[in-house]
């Protein structure tokens, strides 16, 4: 596959070049469905947490749905995905089953890790989803290693490595950047800038707040992308995928996004105003954007309601399964330590 012109990919920083390429109706419908599935799934997870059916930490992805859905639309089977602990959306976007994810959240034997991993630790070899990591920044080196394996084997797979604005300050991120560019590894670093790392806003933690420039000293091209517009995400992803598959090395995509909920369920979120959250929700909601475009293009409320109903059905079935599936067999305590 041909690499894009270097000059295009090279430019860092804000690109306010009007609106992104239009989606076809099919693309709009798919994006809507996939984002709604994540939204409804996360709302349900929040409810189950409130009921005590889910324990420990539970980090919801509500508000950020356009990022994984848009990225995934540019990938092909075989491309790897890896992320941190805010991972439910990534797994659903990778086509992992809602019931398996939900059952892992409730710690049951039908969960993707058979109940042993929980919200932060799920994997699917089959779907090339490599987790699900609890140590902030660790997935960045791991994702770089996935890209290393692709290059070693000479295949054309790309590793999509997601991490947050907070994680972007970890040292191993830069050690990874250097190796990735030095060895021209096919890795897309997707920095999900949702403006906060726990209670710390980007401006209180980061000397360089333009994350697309974080690879500048290694000559890694980067772009800032409107992560609330699924079309913009898809367009940037297409470009980055072509760049990586073309053997040009890594690329950084800073996704400008927002999380509506607290960092985890137990975050009182006193570090930002209710108005701030309301404004993003009202003006930029990724799902509403697609809905409005579809309606403007003549889709009926009825059609859109049908999608919502289909998605709710999947989520309810998953929640039901996740609450009734038995806990792991006690013998599982000692399995999977070695093989």
């Amino acid at each position: 596959m041909a690499a894009p012109k270097k000059s295009v990919a090279k430019e860092s920083g804000q690109e306010k070049a009007g609106s992104p390429p239009e989606f076809t109706k099919e693309q709009e419908l798919k994006a809507l469905r996939d984002m709604l599935l994540i939204r409804r799934f996360e709302e349900k997870a929040g409810q189950l947490y409130g009921m005590g059916a889910i324990g420990g930490f539970c980090h919801l992805y509500i508000g950020q749905e356009a990022v994984v859905v848009g990225m995934q639309m540019a990938l092909k089977p075989g491309d790897e995905v890896i992320t941190g602990y805010r991972d439910h959306g990534h797994m659903l976007a990778c086509d992992m089953e809602a019931r398996g994810v939900m059952a892992e959240l409730t710690g049951r034997r039908g969960g993707y890790s058979r109940g042993k991993g929980g919200s932060m630790h799920m994997f699917s070899k089959e779907k090339h989803f490599y987790g699900g990591h609890g140590i902030v920044g660790a997935q960045v080196s791991l994702g770089t290693g996935l890209a290393f394996a692709n290059r070693y084997r000479g295949n054309d797979n790309v590793s999509v490595t997601y991490f947050g604005d907070g994680a972007a300050n970890q040292g191993q991120v830069y050690e990874s950047f250097n190796m990735a560019e030095l060895w021209k590894l096919p890795v897309i670093y997707v920095i999900e800038n949702n403006r906060y790392a726990m209670g710390t806003s980007v401006s209180r933690a980061s000397a360089q707040q333009d994350f697309s420039k974080r690879g500048a000293s290694f000559n890694i091209p980067g772009k800032q992308v409107d992560g609330m517009d699924v079309r913009a995400v898809k367009a940037a992803a297409d470009e980055a995928v072509a760049w990586c598959r073309g053997g040009n090395g890594p690329m950084i995509l800073e996704m400008q996004t927002y999380r509506y909920r607290g960092h985890s369920m137990s975050d009182p979120a006193k570090y930002r105003t209710r108005e701030e959250v309301e404004k993003v929700r009202h003006d930029q909601d990724p799902i509403e954007q697609v809905r409005n475009r579809l309606l403007a293009a003549g889709a009926s409320e009825q059609d859109l309601k049908a999608i919502d109903a289909e998605v709710r059905e999947i989520v309810n079935e998953a929640a039901d399964f996740a609450q009734h599936d038995p806990e792991p067999d006690p013998a599982e305590l000692y399995t999977d330590i070695y093989r």
Partner: protein
């Protein structure tokens, strides 16, 4: 059918909360995502968001109600087209509870990590008076969270070179609210929020300590200190020696260690054994509120690097702390937490909760256990352990960490070296199981030690 809104659990450890405020009135329309109420827990005020659309039907728990149990219905939401007349139909929304859980061995976590809400850390039997506390001293009841905060505040008032840095320690008031109020009292020069860069800020702390400052470096949990462990060991612990005594570093690394509740393998490790191996480090792992305070003050004053291991589950527990102008507990001294003549139980930190409860159980069966709280892991107070074992002739160690090369193994080796001829049975070790911490509730219980295991071990070494 109308939907019931239940009192939500907002953290892994919440059992009840206060319904502080209703933000919607009966009859008001609600969209998914609307904040409908505010709830207060011991840690924070939280907002309750609606996940369903409709109209707020009836408020079942009025605002200002305290101690509402998680899962109590607090309101009903009417869907489009429903009226107040439908309210009677609202289902009770039961939460199916897992079956296998009941089959799990009786206790385990049930007695230990039941956090925050109730149960003072104190055992049923009166603890022995602490020799560090003069007789007649007035005591105040505090949470361990407050005892830690007071220890830091007192030392920061006393010495302008003491400062604290870490993730979320300042504006957020601590991820677990341990540094509450410090930013307000001492300002941003001395209470410093860092980026998420453990390796980097630990090194910055060590460097500042080499230059003579006295940093307290908070790790959000010790699991994340693994990012920084090179600076802790290679730079902090070894520099005094490598410089022929010219340059040491007075620094405290502190934060929660070990298992919390359901946070799985990467967030549940006990590092006591890891750090206890390192010459040049001191390692403290207290259990009682008074020790938390007095030992943290000692750690901050100590001219060496000190690892101060806390426990998240204990933060909300209360205990008696002496009301003294300057209460400091010496590092390196164990304490007899309960006297007995039949068997010695050696433990520290969270392990003490199993040890003390087991001692109560054993007493009912006529076995008088002596419980030694190590408090400091390094330097270890061998003398106190050995004196006790010489008296009882039997010993059990208790820890949540892993057994191989664990602290219990070290205790057992010292007993063998110094009291072999006094032993009537081999030393028994009760520990966390030899597995990464699983997430599932039933497996997590099995992975941790239990009171029953301690009781069984004490009986086994007593041949009973």
């Amino acid at each position: 059918m109308p939907i019931q809104v239940l009192m939500p659990a907002l953290s892994p450890t919440m059992e009840k909360g206060n319904l502080a405020k209703w933000l919607k009135k009966e009859g008001e329309t609600i969209k998914s995502g609307d904040v409908i109420a505010e709830i207060e827990t011991d840690k924070a005020t939280m907002e309750v968001e609606a996940t369903d659309e409709g109209t707020l039907g009836k408020i079942l728990i009025p605002e200002g109600t305290a101690d509402v149990a998680v899962n109590t219905p607090i309101a009903t939401i009417l869907a489009d087209g429903e009226s107040a007349a439908d309210l009677a139909k609202a289902p009770a929304a039961p939460v199916p509870q897992p079956k296998a859980a009941e089959a799990a061995p009786a206790e385990a976590k049930a007695e230990a990590p039941q956090p925050a809400a109730k149960a003072p850390a104190a055992p049923a039997t009166e603890p022995l008076p602490d020799p560090e506390i003069p007789a007649g001293t007035e005591m105040v009841t505090q949470t361990i969270r407050e005892a830690l905060r007071d220890a830091m505040a007192e030392e920061m008032r006393r010495d302008g070179d003491v400062f604290i840095m870490g993730e979320e320690v300042a504006e957020y008031q601590g991820a677990y609210k341990v540094t509450q109020g410090l930013l307000q009292e001492f300002g941003a020069r001395r209470v410093i929020d860092t980026p998420i860069t453990e390796h980097g800020f630990a090194g910055v702390g060590v460097g500042a300590a080499m230059a003579g400052l006295k940093p307290i470096v908070e790790f959000m949990t010790f699991n994340f200190a693994m990012q920084a462990i090179d600076q802790i060991i290679n730079s902090a612990a070894k520099t005094l020696y490598m410089s022929g005594g010219q340059m040491g570093c007075s620094i405290v690394f502190r934060g929660p260690n070990g298992a919390a509740a359901r946070v799985a393998a990467q967030h549940s490790q006990d590092y006591a054994a890891w750090y206890s191996q390192i010459p040049g480090l001191k390692v403290i792992a207290p259990y009682s509120a008074a020790d938390y305070k007095g030992l943290l003050k000692a750690a901050i004053r100590d001219p060496n690097p000190v690892i101060f291991l806390e426990n998240e589950v204990l933060y909300g527990h209360t205990g008696e702390v002496p009301k003294l102008a300057d209460f400091v507990v010496p590092i390196g001294k164990a304490r007899i937490a309960r006297a007995g003549k039949d068997v010695t139980i050696v433990s520290w930190a969270m392990g003490m909760s199993y040890a003390l409860k087991a001692a109560d159980e054993l007493a009912k069966e006529g076995i008088e256990a002596e419980v030694v709280d190590l408090r400091t892991i390094r330097p270890m107070d061998t003398e106190t352990i050995i004196n006790s074992v010489k008296k009882t002739g039997r010993a059990v160690t208790v820890e949540e960490g892993w057994q191989q090369s664990g602290v219990g193994s070290e205790v057992a080796a010292r007993i063998m070296e110094h009291a072999f001829d006094y032993l009537d049975a081999p030393v028994a070790r009760v520990s966390g199981k030899d597995v990464p911490m699983p997430y599932a509730a039933n497996l997590e219980k099995l992975a941790l030690p239990s009171v029953a295991e301690v009781v069984a071990a004490a009986k086994a070494v007593s041949y009973r």
